[in-house]
Amino acid sequence: MAMPSFLLRPTVLLLSGVGISLCGRAQTPSDTSTVLSEARVEALHLSASQRSAVPLQHFDSTALMQLGVSTTADVVRHFAGVNLRDYGGAGGLKTVSVRGLGASHTVVSYDGIVVSNTQSGQIDIGRFPLSQLSDLSLRTADASALLCPVREQGNATLSLQSIELSRKTVGPEGNLRLQTGSFGQFNPTLWLTEHTSARHALSLMADFHYAKNEYPFRFENGVATHTEKRLNSRLRDTTVELNDKADLGSYGTLQSKFYFSNFNRQLPGPVIYYVQGNHERLHERHAFVQSRWNVGGQKWKAYLAGKAAWGESKYEDVGGQYPGGALRQNYRQREVYATGGASYRWKNWEGALATDYTYADLSSNLSVDNDVARHSLLASGSLRWQPANFNLTLRLLSATYWNQSAGAEGAQNFSHLSPSLSFGWTILSRPRAHTLLRAHYKDFFRAPTFTESYYYHLGSTDLKPEKTRQIGLGVSQQWQPADKWLLSFSVDGYWNRITDKISSIPYNLFVWRTVNLGNVRAEGLDISGRTEWSVRSKHRLILHANYSLQQTRDYTDPARATYKKQLAYVPLHSGAAALAWENPWVNVSVSLQASSMRWATNEHTFSTETAGYAEWSINFRRNLTLWHQSLSLSLDVQNIFHKQYCVIRRYPMPGRAWKASVAWNF
């Protein structure tokens, strides 16, 4: 007797990485005498954001396209709880603060290994062109993965993932992309991958970005408004990457990267009354090689990773006021980093141990600076209890820092223990609905940077680490009201305390010093939501929106005018939204970023008020095949209503601008 045969044909409703509904339908066999009844399997595909016990926001490559943005900074604005300091234009410094903690608390990791800047402690995310990235995520309060490098277990981590080498077929593939736009932008990118076998791939990425960047802006002076140009803004950036990814079978995976960048930038500086132009330049070169080996199965996992990094920054300002007619400050920093860890799962329990060692040093051409170095040893132990619908994670992190300064007193050595606790409770789990309640507590710190400890006159070797305590509570929900409609949102509240805040203050009339001074309280609400609606066949609408309430106030001294006032440049309200229409012709995305007014100083006076803004942009994109070649076309019109505004006073943002790109995929 012939066995009844049937074919379960899954119908996958792809919901852009956020939700997948699996449907199966029994087929009528041609020779059957038995007809099976229809079987339908439904389950929401939960993204990592929806499963994480700590707030995690994530955009994969599809979601990035739907946002319709063209820079990494623009993507970051679509994360809730973020405050992006943007000094304007393609070459302007862009740093990320999360939940009122300051940019030095935000860790940036690139392909799984932390990018460091021991000199200033802040990473310019403008260094990472969006064209090289396939995935961005922001994790707040703690690492969601139990096993990860200790440096990623800090207050907030922005993870950048370069384009994945995922294809398993042997042979070359590549992408040549040419982007041009307003203000003399010219940005070719080449990405070549050679799959030497199904288990091994090599890739080369080369990116060149030139922009004259002299965009016009309006500047108010009394009752008059002048139109001026940002002069001395040219950037000439080159980035080259070599990536190697090997699947070692039962021995795990090995991923390695060599990175080199050469950034040559003129600095326009702040807008100064009655003065046009500037003479400052910054030439930065960075190189690193990093490698990460992951291995493991269902029960145990382990990893080893290492990195050697070198960076050079050459600052120059030309002017008759300087000896020899120019100020030249050259800094070199080097870093060696190693990390390793393992985890084991037993029933509902999982434990992990990880440790990091870092050696970093900094030297300069200035006779008043000493060569300084720091050894740091971090270790963490983590334990997770994960019965059905519940997980509780305990983590204890130990950090020890040893500082050295050649020929002079080094900064204070110190040790710090940082406990953290987080739990996630799935209070609703239905085929079409999922609700997670989560909470966390974290005690953490940041070490003083080399600049804060040693910079001539400004630095102080007596500094203690800046400490933070965080408490958060949130809910994350995803549901599918109809077959063609998916909704997800999360609401997270937090309560942060910062003590021993590291600040620079005037020591006397002439010179400043850096001290541990000040207490800050940050309370806020992060709300993000996303909905997708398949209007009809091949037509989808996707809306992503976020809103941040950040009340970040000074609690240092009741006698001060700044007491209980919002910190400078932290907006009370901010948010972003993007609406995408996917269709067979031209995909369209409209995006908005907005912020309420801010203050330029911690004291709130009329002269320090900085206006809020709302910037709208639109993006058109189309994939097509011409002469058997796959092409991707994109056109952005940024700031379509030509809004004149500053994120940081005196650093105007560009007005209306366009950007067009064509990519040839081969």
């Binding site: 006779s367 006397n508 001290v515 001294d557 006698a559 100083t601």
Partner: protein, 375 residues
């Protein structure tokens, strides 16, 4: 209470403003008086806050914070350093904006903007004003034709004063701190007839503000190397003087008298006022001391009332009105208040507090508008 304070202050001010023109007891005649005090609020260029020019009406004690923009409908610019009244005009060097403003003294309307590189200080003498440019020059500007002449004086000139018919320029070489300010440490004396350097007078490390009185006495601040008090290589900020033979002081006897330490100063014919201090090592409090010396023997006045508690929280400058002998101190609101609304404090010559009021952000310099009254 406020009205009483104001009336009392006004009466005291008015009384002090009446400076006799002769030595008889005849109070009839024409007397110099002070009509207003122009206050430069430096703002904060880093925080994007432009400077302002405030005006205190010394008759009514009313203060207008932004008289420049009120009158001229445009900004004063970034980081104004100083203000002087010379003849019928007001001159304001604005460092960040590379500009010297020339205003009408009565109306405060702009008469002329003059482009000049990084002006640090300005002084007037006869038909000229002299500007210290941070790029190593003093610019002489004819106040009739506005013709400019530049004279190279040395790296980073920081202060100017005119005394005994000559211009004295402090040369700090402040941007050369990595080499110990090696090309500074001097005061350049400029002959005003030929506008040439007459001599160089060695002085302490990193000289800055320099003042003189009508008696021709010259005092300056040598700011040292700013190192902390515990640093063995510290060179402290000291007050020095230049005697009639252009020799630098103080003598060792004066140094032992506690004369030397100070970060700012001002001088009248009779008194030299010195402020010393700064932020304490705790980073949250500040300590300042005021010393008053008589200018005849440079002896310390022990009966100064500047020692009482009700003092400016974080002084940024000290100035004296030569007509009334009132001492004005500009101040930030406290430690780390550099970008916040400051205040101005007015004292009698002996340190008795008369009045204080809120000014703009980081008040930094004062000039006095004088007129005359006939009784």
């Amino acid at each position: 209470m406020l009205k009483l304070l104001r009336n009392t202050s006004f009466a005291l001010l008015a009384g002090l403003m009446l400076t006799a023109c002769n030595e008889t007891d005849d109070w009839h005649g024409t007397f110099a008086n002070t009509e207003g005090a122009l206050i430069v609020n430096q703002g904060n260029q880093y925080d994007g806050i432009a400077g302002t020019l405030g005006l205190l009406d010394t008759q009514t004690l009313t203060y207008t914070n932004n008289i420049f923009e009120d009158v001229n409908s445009q900004s004063l610019g970034d980081t104004p350093q100083n203000v002087i009244v010379h003849g019928s005009k007001v001159y304001i060097p604005v460092f960040g904006s590379n500009r010297l403003w020339v205003l009408d003294k009565k109306t405060h309307r702009i008469l002329r903007p003059i482009d000049t590189n990084q002006p640090e200080w300005v002084e007037g003498y006869k038909n000229y004003v002299y500007v210290a440019n941070n790029d190593g020059f003093v610019t002489r500007i004819d106040t009739v034709t506005w013709a400019q002449t530049r004279l190279a004086v040395g790296p980073n000139p920081a202060g100017l004063t005119i005394a005994r018919g000559a211009l004295y320029v402090t040369i700090s070489d402040g941007y050369n701190y990595t080499n110990g300010y090696v090309n500074g440490k001097k005061v350049v004396k400029v002959n005003l007839d030929g506008f040439i350097i007459e001599k160089e007078i060695p002085c302490g490390l990193n000289p800055g503000k320099i003042v003189s009185n009508t008696s021709g006495q010259i005092f300056l601040v040598a700011r040292g190397n700013y190192k902390s008090a515990t640093d063995p290589d510290r060179v402290p900020s000291v007050i020095q003087y230049i005697d009639a033979s252009d020799n630098i002081g103080p003598s060792s006897s004066l140094a032992s008298n506690g004369f030397t330490n100070g970060i700012d100063l001002t001088a009248s014919d009779n008194y030299l006022y010195v402020i010393n201090g700064g932020t304490n090592s705790d980073g949250t409090t500040a300590s300042f001391e005021y010393k008053v010396f008589n200018t005849y023997g440079l002896g310390l006045m022990t009966d100064s009332k500047f020692t009482v508690a009700d003092r400016p929280p974080y002084p940024t400058g000290i100035f004296i009105d030569p007509v009334t002998s009132l001492v004005y101190v500009t101040s930030d609101p406290g430690v780390n208040g550099y970008n916040q609304q400051g205040s101005v404090w007015i004292f009698n010559y002996d340190g008795t507090l008369i009045h204080h009021f809120n000014a703009g952000i980081h008040p930094f310099a004062i000039a006095f508008e004088h007129g005359s009254i006939t009784l």
